[in-house]
Each structure stands twice: as C-alpha cells, then as structure tokens.
C-alpha cells in the first residue's frame, strides 16, 4: 500500500460524490460490528456529539446506569441504545433499531443491527434500505471472519459504499502502521466483493476522535475525513436512471369522471404524453396527467408518490405495473433469486408461499439450489435453507410475475416471502434474472481460466458486469510464476 496516511482508498472515483448539502435526501446507513468492537459506543458517540441526545434522556440514562459511566464521565451509551427491557436484561441487542441524527448538511437514519452470528436476518433487514455500511473493527484484533460475513451480506443486499471504522485506535497507541495494515486487508476484501467506494478511518469512539470531531491532536498522521464528514459526502442511491416503473397500489375513483392509478414511482421518470404499458395485461396507453395534492405536475421521478391518469380506458388494478414502453421489465413464471431465510422453520422446498413485491402478491414455490458459506464465500449445493441461510433459489409462479434484476432496480427486483400458515415474513429476496437451467459454478458448462495482474483483476471484478455474477467467478491470488505453471498444466 502507498505511504499516504490518507486512508481514503476509493479505488474508483468514477461515481461522483454529490456535493453534500441540507438539500439532500436523508442518508440511510447500517452499522455492523460486534458488541466487543464498541458499536454501541460509536453510535452513542455519534448521537451525543451531534446533540441528538437531550439532557433529560441522558439524565434517565445516568439514573438507570447507577454510576455505570465510562472513564470520561459520559453515560453508558449502550443503555441509551438498547431500548427494550428484555434486551437490557440479557445485555445484548436482539433486533434492528433505527436512530436519527443530523448535521448542518444532512440528516441520517442509522439501522443499528446486532453483530452476533445468528442474527444474519436482522442485518439483512437493516441493509435492505441502506445506502452505505459502516463496518466496525477493533484495531487490536483487526479484520475478523465476522467482518467478512457482514461485508458479504451488505454487498448481497445491494450496498456499494463501505466505511471501515478502525475503533479503539487509542489502545494501540495510535499505531499508524497497524491502521494501514487493517485498511489494506479490508480494501482487498471489499474489492473482492465488488465494492468500489471504501473509506477507512482510525477512530476512538470512546474519546470521540474522528467520529464527529477530528482526532488530529492524537493522530497527526491521519489527514482523511472524520466519520461524519464521510457520511455527509456519501451518495444516495436512486432508481432514476432506469426505465419508468409504477407499481399500482390502488385505483382512485372519487367520481365517474376521474380514474387515477396511485403508487410510488419505482424507477425512471414519467411525463404527460409518454407511452406506457400496463403489465401483465400488455395494454398500451399514454399518460394524460400526473396528479398530486399540490398541483398537476409536468413530470415525476423515482421516489415520488403520484396519481397517474391515462388517456384511455384500460383495465388496471392493484398489483399491476405501469412501465415505459421502450424499457420494460422481465415477465415470466420462472425466476432466479437470492434469498435470506428469516424464521426458524427455514425454507421448505416445494411449499407454496406468498411472494410480495411492490404491491403485487402472488403464489410461488421455491426450489433452493445452493447455500452461501459465509466463511469461505463459496456456494454449496443445498436442498433446503435453514434460518439465517443465504441461498440461491428458483422461483416458480402460478401466474405471470414482473421483475427487474435487483442489481438494476432495488425496488422492482426485491421481494419478501410470507408463510401462508403463520402469515410471518420468512425471507427477503433479490431477483438475479430469469430462471436458467444452466449456469452456476457447480454446473458442467464451459469455463475460462484467466491469469491477470492482481490490480487489474480487482478492477475487473469491481465492474458492473461482475456485480450480478460475482459468485459465478472463482478468484485465487498467486504469483506470476506459479500462475504460468498452472496454465501450463492445463495445456498438457
């Protein structure tokens, strides 16, 4: 690694970081790390130093913690965060909690999820809406297997910006070499997952260094941004550059003269005069009006909750999708997906579940094909998926289904599975494409072995092409001589 102490290791500045200002949408982020990494202290510190914690809340804290303060005289932040009594009694965080804080430039929504292994499902839940993941490690222990697991889950859920908070740096005597070693290892890990935007920051959450306020006094060698500065400049993902999608939530008919289709634009943009198709029926119409409470608008973009009026009588009901005529989603009865199993009963092959995506709910059977081993990053063949498993599955629908890939659209490519017996949400899933009988690393189709310089391979793996098929590729690091020998072996 270079000697630069600025550990902003954004490998590809290709994605333009928008100028942060108060005029931006809230940034949603997830924090991942274990109890021992000091995650509660970090979040507590963020809330405390941005003044999101008020005096009376702190007073309640101090009353509760009965003298349990850290050595800086601050309250025990973990108590502030662990809101539920059941958790306090057990001393662990068992669910996803949402925290709010803001700076002059932006507001933030933090999904605070537990780091313990059995709670993969909670991390997946928190990551589903996040634009960025903050991964926390203890500077003394460095990258753990757990860090790898969290980074993998975050990537699967579509997060493409990572911040590595190397916490407890004070306990290493602010050891710059140690920090750089950890940053380097993390950079390799992130790149192998295809994540391009990576920032590593040496932090002492306990002392408040490089969280909201800089830690220059203790770490003059670090010239990069603080955690909050990094978050202020992070990008918010939107689906605005893809085709127009409007999942219809309800049909508004206040009188005979008006018929509007209400929903939230899930992709692209729309304006009066645009030609659209109603799926699954395939009926074509033109947009006549975009109605909102305030005014009749001349355009709407992804994220807008609107009422769409078409220029002719077509049959549209809840669960249908209105889409642009020249950029349509996939339709069909068989799709491939990755899912996270969330309940003790797991995923039973052959059982008919309810699938909900957008406003559309339909019957589906799920055939598991493989399960991700979070330790090795390999997909192993599987026929059923237990709780907390991440699996590749084939979905078979009774009727036509409508999807984009999750990689292309985080709304129209996402779904949940509901158990028809318990009505519980048993899985979250991401569409990877139309179902293909071939493909996957365990199948006997033709493969190519490439030998590349490591940096070039990293870049290649980080491209969009690989983003959706990363798990179809196997990457091994070796040296040029050994690679030449291996390839020579194949020729024989």
């Amino acid at each position: 690694m270079t000697a630069s102490a600025t550990a902003t290791v954004a490998a590809f500045p290709a994605v333009e970081t928008e100028r942060a200002s108060r005029d931006s949408r809230p940034l949603r982020l997830i924090t991942c790390g274990s109890v021992d990494d000091g995650k509660s202290t970090l979040i507590g510190r963020l809330l405390w130093d941005t003044k999101a914690v008020k005096e009376d809340q702190a007073a309640t804290l101090q009353r509760d913690s009965s003298g349990k303060q850290n050595d800086l005289g601050l309250p025990d932040f973990a108590l502030l965060l662990d809101g539920l009594q059941a958790e306090r009694e057990q001393g662990i965080t068992i669910d996803v909690a949402y925290r709010y804080f803001s700076t002059d430039r932006r507001s933030f929504i933090v999904a605070d999820t537990p780091g313990h292994e059995q709670y993969t499902r909670n991390m997946a839940t928190g990551a589903s809406t996040a634009d960025l993941a903050v991964l926390l490690v203890d500077a003394r222990t460095g990258i753990l297997e757990q860090t790898r697991r969290h980074a993998t889950i975050a990537t699967l859920m579509g997060i493409r910006q990572f911040v590595l908070a190397v916490n407890k740096i004070d306990l290493t005597g602010y050891d710059r070499a140690r920090f750089e070693e950890i940053s380097h290892e993390f950079k390799e890990l992130a790149l192998s997952l295809g994540v391009k935007q990576i920032t590593a920051i040496p932090v002492s959450a306990l002392k408040g260094e490089n969280v909201v306020y800089d830690g220059r006094a203790s770490m003059p060698w670090y010239e990069g941004p603080t955690l909050v500065e990094t978050l202020e400049k992070a990008t918010v993902r939107s689906n605005q550059t893809v085709g127009f999608r409007l999942p219809v939530q309800r049909v508004s008919r206040p009188g005979e003269s008006f018929r509007g289709y209400q929903g939230t634009v899930a992709g692209g943009a729309v304006k009066p005069g645009d030609s659209v198709v109603v799926l699954p029926s395939g009926m074509v119409a033109n947009v006549k009006q975009i109605v909102t409470f305030d005014l009749v608008r001349n355009a709407a973009v992804a994220g807008d909750a609107i009422t769409l009026v078409l220029d002719r009588q077509v049959d549209v009901s809840r669960g249908d999708m209105i889409v642009s005529i020249d950029s349509q989603p996939m339709t069909g009865r068989k799709f491939d997906a990755q899912i996270v199993a969330m309940q003790p009963e797991g995923i039973e092959p052959g059982k008919r579940y309810w699938l909900k995506s957008g406003s559309r709910r339909q019957r589906v059977t799920v055939a598991p094909a493989s399960q991700l081993d979070l330790k090795s990053g390999k997909w192993n063949a599987a026929e059923a998926l237990p709780m907390n498993a991440i699996g590749k599955v084939a979905l078979t629908f009774d009727e036509q289904a409508i999807f984009d890939t999750y990689e292309q659209n985080r709304t129209t490519g996402a779904f949940i599975l509901i158990d028809p017996d318990t009505h519980n949400t048993i899985a979250g899933g991401m569409i990877t494409g139309r179902h293909s009988e071939l493909g996957g690393i365990h199948k006997g189709d033709e493969r190519v072995i490439l030998s590349l310089p490591a940096d070039l391979a990293d870049k290649l793996m980080a491209t969009e092409i690989f983003a959706s098929r990363r798990h179809d590729a196997e990457v091994r690091h070796t040296n040029a001589g050994r690679a030449a020998e291996l390839l020579a072996d194949l020729d024989e």
Binding site: D23, S24, R25, P26, K54, E55, D56, Q57, T60, R63, L81, D82, G83, L84, Q85, A86, R88, D95, V96, Y98, R99, Y100, S102, S107, I109, D112, R121, A124, T125, S128, T129, Q249, R250, S252, P254, G260, Q262, T264, V291, T292, F293, D294, L295, G303, D304, A305, T307, M342, W354, K356, S359, R410, T411, A414, I416, I418, H423, N424, T425, G428
Partner: protein, 317 residues
C-alpha cells in the same frame, strides 16, 4: 385564537407554495406510500387522531395520499375528558373544514368510577382512560389497521418499532416477535381478530415535523405558540390553570407568564415550557438549540425508564 394560526390559514391556499426540500419530500413520499398500502390491503382501517402536531401532519399526509378522493377511513379520537379546551375546539373545526368522519370514544369507566388524573395517579389514569379506552374503541369498530403518528426518535422503545406493528387479538405488542420488515415491502397478512398499527411518521424527527408544518402551512392548535397564559407549578411542571376542575393545593398560586407546549395531551399531565416562540420560525430555532427532549414534559414517561415499553405491551399506542 392566536395570530399565527390565522396567518397560517390565510396562507393555506397552496398555489404559490415553493416545492418541498428533498429531505421532507422523501419523508412525505414514504408516508403517502404507507397510507395507500394500508388502505388497499386492510378491510377496516382507522386513523388515531390525538389533535397534536404529529396528528395534524398525519392528517395532512392522509389527505395528500388520497387526493382527489376523500380520506377513505374515519378518525378516532380517544378522549379522556381532560384535554385542553382549545384542542377540542380545534378538532371540531378541522373535522368540519376537511369533511372528515370522526369517532370519539371516552371510557365509560371514567365517569362511572370518577377516574381523574388527580385521584388515580398518572399511571393508573393513563391505563384506564387511554390504553383501555383505545382497546375498547378498536374492538367496537372491528378495525384491522390503525394509523398512528408515533415516531421512532421519540423514545427508546420506539426505536425498534416496525412501520407495520403487528398486534394480537388482545392488542398486545410482543417486541421479541416482530415480523422482519425489508425495503418498503410491508406484510399486511393477518388472521381475523389480529390487527396492525401502522406508523407513517416512523422516520420523522421532531424538527422534521415542525419544518413540514411550516412548509405546508398546516394548521395546529395555538397552544404550541408562546402566549401569556395562567399556570401553576406542581411536581416541577408548569400546569395550565384555565380549567375550573384544577384545584389549587395548599401553597400553590396562579401565576402568569409567556409559555407554550411542546406536546399536547391531558392538561393536568402536560407541562409547559417558558418560551418566547410565537412563530414557526421561532419554534424551529428554539428546537434546534433545545437541550431537553419533547417528552420531558410528559408525566407518564417519567414513572420509570422503560415505562413506555410496558404501556406498549399492554396496548398503549
């Protein structure tokens, strides 16, 4: 009525209103999405209406969500009989102005057993007149979904609340057995008798509420603005001394001062703050420098830490 309110009403024709900033717009879009989803998926939704600022924002969002149609569900006001008089006057005017269906419910035990905040203590009183009353009203209406204005930033136990919060047939909330909630896909499947509480304002903070009220010219109860008002000091709180039912205890004297309320509930349990904030701008700048949370004025939260979670488990909103 205060000048601020009249001013807000005068400006309430939306035509010349500047567009919302992207932050508020995102929160508004999310709330409208939730309103529409619940209205489409449930048979008998109802909206809990408490007349406060959050309820005012909730109602405004409901009107936006279903425009140009009417709000397709009734509003439920669980009255304790001890609300500020100005709240009730405001409620009746809003219902008339926006052509809303209002259901008012008061727990009959209140009158029968003469339950008051003075005689029964805040915990017991709240349990009977709010928690029990709410259960009665929800059962009577056979509602399968109830919108509420709760925000996750309000209180620690709310931070883990789902947007669709599942409740058993006896209205219990089990914090350990909540459904996972991913993306903006909400699971509205329930059995008969079960219900969901839906919280469109989950991701809003107190400042967002005020900035939105300002941006959208939403009418609110004038008690939120500072005015010279009579009050007494009791248990460290400033209690509004306008209602004849408030009996002065030995040593208490009526005083007058420039005060306002950050939250509104039952007048004997809601403390005022000293403030000179007479406009929305004043309130927002006061809030941005505030060092105490809004619930500090609520007696019910102070019984003990974790008391909100207990009440929620028992069916309190």
């Amino acid at each position: 009525m205060s000048d601020n309110r009249n001013e807000a009403e005068a400006r309430s024709t939306a035509a010349s209103k500047p567009p919302l900033d992207p932050h508020l717009k995102a929160l508004e879009n999310e709330a409208i999405h939730i309103f529409r989803e619940v209205a489409a998926e449930f048979e008998r939704p109802v909206m809990l209406y408490s007349i406060g600022k959050d309820s005012s924002v909730l109602l405004h969002l409901a009107r936006k969500a279903f425009h140009p149609g009417r709000v397709p569900f009734p509003l439920l006001h669980v009255n304790t009989g001890w609300k500020f008089a100005e709240m009730i006057a405001f409620r009746d005017e809003i219902v008339k102005r926006y052509d809303l269906d209002l259901i008012e419910h008061v727990n009959p035990r209140g009158a029968a057993e003469n339950v008051t905040p003075f005689t029964h203590g805040s915990a017991r009183y709240t349990d009977i007149m709010k928690t029990e009353a709410l259960r009665q009203a929800l059962d009577a209406g056979k509602y399968d979904a109830a919108f509420g204005g709760a925000r996750r930033d309000e209180e620690a136990s709310r931070a883990k609340e789902r947007i669709y919060s599942f409740r058993t047939p006896d209205h219990r909330w089990d914090p350990r057995n909540q459904r996972p909630e991913l993306w903006n896909i909400y699971n509205g499947m329930i059995n008969r008798g079960e219900s969901v509480r839906a919280f469109p304002l989950s991701n809003w903070t107190e400042v967002d509420i005020w900035r939105y009220i300002q941006a959208e010219n939403i009418p609110i109860v004038p008690l939120y603005f500072a005015e010279k008002r009579p009050y007494i000091e009791r248990d460290g709180m400033m209690i509004l001394a306008e209602d004849p039912r408030l009996e002065l205890l030995p040593g208490e004297t009526k005083q007058e001062g420039l005060i306002r309320f950050r939250t509104l509930g039952c007048f004997p349990l809601t403390g005022a703050i000293r403030s000179t904030a007479t406009t929305l701008d004043d309130i927002i700048s006061e809030l941005e420098t505030a060092t105490v949370s809004e619930r500090q004025g609520r007696a019910i939260d102070r019984d003990q830490s974790g008391s909100m979670e207990k009440k929620k488990r028992e069916g309190y909103f």
